[in-house]
């Protein structure tokens, strides 16, 4: 059978067989292509590829369900620990995330001044919150200095 384009390798071999059975008489070695007619459509049966496709979707759906379950578990664990976290933040009095401990001006961005670059090292730029391209509304900016 020719490969790479001939419809002889196309799907619907069952349909092809049916068509052959009806005596289309295309000659030996020439399989008829999938002929889309109402009758053929009615006799359509899902083929191997379609079943494999549905199986692949099922596998992805299963993985997605695993992810949803994992997310739910993580949320449950986080909810159970939320009181402790809130107590810690209440106790310390500072809510900023401890993501950058190596620079003072970014450890507690909410407590840092809004416009003071070069606090730690020469030529280090102030990324937060002056890193924003658009500033806050003028009255608010005045109020917060």
């Amino acid at each position: 059978m020719p490969r790479g384009g001939g419809l002889a390798t196309a799907p619907h071999r069952n349909l092809t067989k049916q068509l052959l059975g009806r005596g289309l008489g295309l000659g030996p070695g020439v399989a008829p292509p999938f002929c889309y007619t109402r009758e053929v459509s009615r006799s359509f049966q899902p083929g191997r590829r379609l079943r494999a496709f549905i199986a692949a979707i099922g596998a992805l759906a299963l993985l997605s369900a695993g992810v949803v379950a994992d997310a739910a578990t993580r949320r449950g664990v986080a909810a159970a620990a939320l009181d402790a976290r809130r107590a810690a933040v209440r106790g310390v009095g500072l809510g900023d995330l401890a993501l950058s401990s190596s620079a003072r001006w970014i450890r507690h961005p909410t407590q840092a001044e809004p416009g003071a670059p070069f606090q730690d090292l020469p030529s280090t730029f102030d990324v937060d919150p002056a890193g924003a391209v658009v500033g806050p509304p003028a009255p608010r900016a005045r109020r917060e200095r």
Partner: protein
């Protein structure tokens, strides 16, 4: 319906015949969705972490500016600036806190002084007591791990003047609060002042808790009227700062990915618009045996949709696995920046439906859209010319 099943099966056959081309496209889609998705998931999760504890931070923080920079405030002036009997004020305190650079760590430790209410916040031990024989402290998990200390151990920390201060570790914060307390050291007022070289009678700022948080702008105005050099930080300013921080960083990362998306769409257009000889003959034969243009178009769209949706689906799952199972390796550096003392990253998934739909709209819709015109051109091909 049966017609669509038949066309879908034909599309699957077509995908299989040109498997490598379509696998390459699906991998490209998965890669773009995966990287975009990771950035969004990580930023949303961090935003969620911060928002979840927002209610516990003080409603107002009053700083004093000197020469345009935060300066120390007078402890004695607290009653004058924030009278406790003022309507709406529940509590006010002069806080002693600051940063201590510890050379051994290459990082700043956040030192917090005073008698802090730490009930329920500690995994082990108790809160430090003032007047103990040896100064006591509570440390965050990252600090405890770095110094390899547990409650009952002793810790020598150089103060701001370089002299060693011997502290007794009496407690460690719960690991769940690591994102907030990883580098925090809580100790009594006198020891904190010594560590930070903070003079008596002075404090870092005033923290004010209100009975009704919505009255914050009014109280803030009163504080400004009583203290002309005050800078009052309201809670909504904190929210905005964080939104700016995360939106800015994740936005920057996303902006860097725009060229990748453009390249992907260009690739899609290029790959799908070039009809090979075999494909041309195939379409010609299909039309010769009675397929309509609409059927050919639908089959081609099925092909594109399978590649785009399949790739995006795999990419989204990979993004989740990357952020929550692999701790966003590679990406956390870009989003957090360098730091010597990172907390262990145990994030809670927060999935923003708008972001998910945006991602789908940015990748899948243009992908299928970019394949429509080539599909139409392929479908409207002249039978006679195609077969010949």
């Amino acid at each position: 319906m049966r017609r669509q099943w038949a066309l879908l099966e034909h599309a699957l056959g077509s995908l299989r015949r040109r498997a490598w081309r379509h696998v390459a496209l699906a991998v490209a889609v998965a890669l773009v969705v995966g990287v975009y998705g990771s950035a969004l998931l990580l930023a949303d999760a961090l935003r969620g972490e911060w928002r979840s504890t927002l209610a516990s931070v003080p409603d107002l923080v009053v700083q004093r500016l000197e020469g345009g920079r935060p300066a120390l405030v007078e402890v004695a002036a607290l009653a004058e600036v924030v009278p406790l009997d003022a309507p709406g004020v529940r509590s006010a305190e002069a806080r002693v806190w600051g940063y201590l650079f510890v050379e051994a760590l290459g990082a700043n430790v956040t030192v917090v002084g005073g008698e802090r209410p730490l009930d329920g916040a500690l995994a082990a031990g108790r809160a430090p007591r003032a007047g103990a024989e040896r100064p006591e402290c509570v440390v965050g998990v990252a600090l405890a791990d770095h110094f390899a200390v547990r409650p009952g151990d002793r810790l020598a920390v150089p103060d701001a003047r370089g002299e060693l201060v011997l502290l007794e570790v009496v407690g460690v914060f719960v690991a769940a609060s690591a994102l907030q307390t990883a580098d925090v050291l809580v100790t009594d007022d006198a020891t904190a002042r010594r560590l930070l070289a903070l003079p008596e009678g002075r404090a870092t700022d005033y923290a004010v808790t209100l009975s009704r948080p919505e009255e914050a702008p009014v109280i803030a105005g009163q504080v400004r009227a009583r203290m002309s050099d005050a800078r009052v930080i309201e809670r909504d300013a904190l929210v905005r700062t964080y939104e700016l921080t995360f939106d800015g960083r994740s936005g920057l990362l996303s902006a860097l990915l725009v060229p990748c998306l453009a390249v992907l769409l260009l690739l899609v257009w290029e790959r799908l618009s070039g009809l090979g000889e075999a494909e041309r003959r195939e379409i010609g034969v299909l039309k010769a045996v009675g397929w309509e243009t609409r059927d050919v178009l639908t089959a081609r769209l099925w092909e594109s949709a399978i590649v785009a949706v399949g790739g995006a689906w795999v990419g989204a799952l990979a993004a989740y696995a990357h952020v929550f199972w692999l701790d966003a390796v590679g990406l956390r550096g870009a989003l957090f920046g360098w730091s010597a003392l990172h907390p262990p990253l145990e994030l809670t998934p927060v999935i923003d439906p708008t972001a998910a739909w945006t991602l789908l709209g940015v990748v899948v819709v243009p992908f299928v859209g970019a394949s429509i015109v080539p599909a139409w051109r392929a479908a409207s091909i002249d039978v006679d010319e195609a077969i010949r």
